[in-house]
């Protein structure tokens, strides 16, 4: 096990890790509640995943296998940068395979392959407060959570429907956790929201700049906010992946020319690569 000279295993000092670990335990004990924590400056900037990085740094051990994705892909520059950081400061094994990872740190996606018990999914969260666009004052939203008063969110959705016939939120679509706390699932596409419901893996959420940690334990009820006559509908481009042929996965739209040419490919590179390799082997 090799780690960077001059820095502790996992970069953070033991006091900071303990503080974050205590916050994580309380977060798991009160699913969906945002626990304030003494977020530290990290060598990667605020807004670039410092919350997720601090959570991962506090839980990771030498036996872990880490996968880092950004936009579903392992090879986007920020995912590469974060994976390298942990390889350097914790000396852990890294992987691009969802199934092989014990910890998956993600920005903006939930992997397509179902996660299993024992895995931990760490989300990078920019704005942990689901109501921040409606009520930016933290002292106020804290009261609303205490009272479980989420009427401003319902009214906002109702107004969307009255105006356009649709709930206008497409990503960072708020969810109710265990019928108690309104929670931001982080800016994942609403397509991914159903995956949070009763997921066998532990889900941890870290917001570094906003200094909040929250969690969803395994098998916990997670419901996307909606109305009986306007049920939640996840959105996906109506297309087929040009690489693996998937009609189920979440797709990225690629502009191929300046004459309106478009193609679609899976956003989850491991899912896509595994499928494409399977098809090649079958041929």
């Amino acid at each position: 096990m090799t780690t960077a000279a001059g820095y502790n295993f996992g970069y953070l000092d033991e006091n900071s890790k303990r503080m974050i670990r205590r916050a994580l335990l309380k977060a798991v004990a009160v699913p969906g509640y945002q626990v304030p924590f003494g977020s530290r400056e990290m060598p990667l900037p605020y807004g670039w995943g410092t919350g997720g990085i601090q959570v991962t740094a506090s839980i990771i051990g030498p036996d872990d296998v880490l996968k880092v994705i950004d936009q579903g892909a392992d090879d986007t520059t920020n995912a590469v940068s974060i994976r390298r950081f942990f390889a350097k400061v914790a000396g852990v094994a890294t992987t691009e395979r969802t199934a092989e990872a014990s910890i998956i740190q993600t920005r903006h996606r939930v992997p397509e392959a179902p996660l299993r018990e024992g895995q931990i999914l760490v989300y990078q969260v920019p704005m942990p407060e689901p109501m921040f666009r409606l009520e930016p004052r933290l002292a106020e939203t804290r009261k609303l959570h205490a009272l479980a008063d989420y009427s401003i969110m319902h009214i906002k959705f109702y107004e969307d429907i009255a105006r356009t016939g649709h709930i206008a939120t497409s990503y960072n679509y708020p969810v109710m956790v265990d019928d108690r706390y309104l929670m931001s699932p982080s800016p994942i596409p609403s397509f991914d929201n159903p995956k949070l419901h009763r997921m066998p893996a532990l889900q941890l959420f870290g917001a570094g700049r906003e200094k909040r940690i929250y969690a969803v334990p395994p098998y916990t009820k997670v419901r996307s906010l909606d109305f009986e006559d306007h049920p939640f509908q996840p959105i996906r481009a109506d297309g087929t992946c040009a690489l693996c042929g998937s009609r189920e996965s979440y797709l990225d739209e690629i502009v191929t020319d300046d004459r309106g040419g478009r193609m679609f490919i899976c956003s989850d590179t491991d899912y896509c690569g595994t499928r494409a390799a399977g098809q090649e082997a079958a041929e």
């Binding site: 530290r40 400056e41 605020y46 986007t76 497409s170």
Partner: protein
């Protein structure tokens, strides 16, 4: 499949870092900049980086400035990220600015006062003409020397307080919270607020302070006193019953005197806004003092009408390491969410166009 050739992130990062290192160094024919040169000749930049980086170390701040190519916010961030890995050994005793070895001390409220006015090394009365003599690098003529007066220089706010005109501040023996170890909570107490302002972005605080002068917050400020100089840092180890002097640092302190209309229970009097900053940084200390006073609105029962009086707004947006991170993160890929927005917009537009056609 040229359009999806996104592999290669690792190589791209390595190449970009190589290019950055070259760009930072500039023309190799030109002599490398030494940290001593930065410390000595760009001292105010060093002071700003120490203040916003929350770490008093001139040579590390100089290193950060060099590494950041002169980008002072980037340099403050480098210093903060280093600082956060250090262990906290303890807290010093409060510094005593009454006992400051003064380099500069001015009051705008009294023509003369005990300890006198000391103009010191200031830009204030220079004519802002580019000095082409600096091009030649000729050393400046020696400044006139004088023997320092050993006269006590009590703080102006104390002089006003002796007359009962200054609203007293209640001293507290409670251990102040530590912003570097726990998150801000609202309402924030004054120690937490002052910590946040002390490391806040100079430009942001300057704009907010300025806004209070222009009617957004109803301030009538006077510079009671601005002082710059050296103070001792003392540590009291638990095993000893006397403090140990561990060194001197330069600080700038501003006490801004403001009118207070009084209330049903309190007579009209002056109140203070307080600013303190590492190094020589008058603009920062003054802006901080204006904003501190504006943020006392709730405590003093004043109506909160202006941005500078809104505690959450001010304190949550004053940290430039946080704000630059979040603004600049918009450069990261967002195509998953953008795709979702595209589909949503197409869906809503299709509905609207269909309805219009019917």
């Amino acid at each position: 499949m040229a359009y999806v050739a996104v592999k290669g992130g690792e190589r791209a990062i390595d190449a970009a870092h190589g290019w950055l290192a070259e760009a930072r160094r500039g023309d190799p024919e030109c002599p490398d900049l030494s940290l001593t040169q930065i410390e000595q000749q760009l001292g105010l930049a060093v002071d700003r980086v120490m203040a916003e980086g929350s770490c008093h170390d001139r040579s590390l701040a100089a290193l950060a400035i060099k590494q950041a190519r002169g980008d002072l916010i980037e340099a403050a961030y480098l210093l903060r990220a280093y600082r956060t890995t250090l262990s906290r050994f303890g807290a010093s005793r409060p510094i005593d600015t009454d006992a400051m070895r003064l380099r500069r001390r001015i009051s705008a409220t009294y023509k003369d006062l005990p300890g006198g006015q000391i103009l010191g090394p200031t830009f204030d009365y220079t004519h802002r003409l580019l000095d082409f003599a600096l091009l030649a690098g000729t050393p400046p003529p020696p400044a006139p020397q004088a023997t320092p007066k050993r006269e006590a220089a009590p703080r102006v706010t104390g002089i006003l307080a002796a007359e009962g005109l200054m609203r007293p501040e209640t001293a507290s023996e409670a251990a102040p919270a530590d912003l570097t170890r726990e998150p801000l909570a609202f309402p924030a107490d004054r120690s937490m607020r002052l910590q946040a302002l002390a490391r806040g972005d100079e430009g942001f605080l300057l704009a907010l302070g300025y806004s209070t002068q222009r009617g957004y917050g109803n301030a009538h400020p006077f510079v009671g006193e601005l002082r710059v100089g050296e103070v001792s840092i003392e540590l009291q180890p638990p095993e000893l019953d006397f403090p140990i002097d561990i060194g001197d640092i330069t600080v700038t302190e501003c006490q801004m005197v403001n009118q207070f209309a009084g209330s049903k229970t309190e007579p009209a009097q002056f109140t203070r806004g307080y600013g303190l900053s590492f190094g020589h940084s008058e603009r920062k200390a003054m802006a901080m003092a204006l904003v501190d006073r504006a943020l006392r609105a709730r405590e003093l029962g004043e109506e909160i009408t202006a941005p500078a009086q809104q505690e959450e707004f001010v304190l949550l947006h004053s940290d430039n390491v946080e704000s630059t991170g979040f603004v600049e993160h918009l450069k990261l890929p967002h195509y998953v969410d953008f795709q979702n927005e595209l589909e949503k917009l197409r869906e809503i537009r299709a509905d609207a166009l269909r309805n219009a056609a019917e």
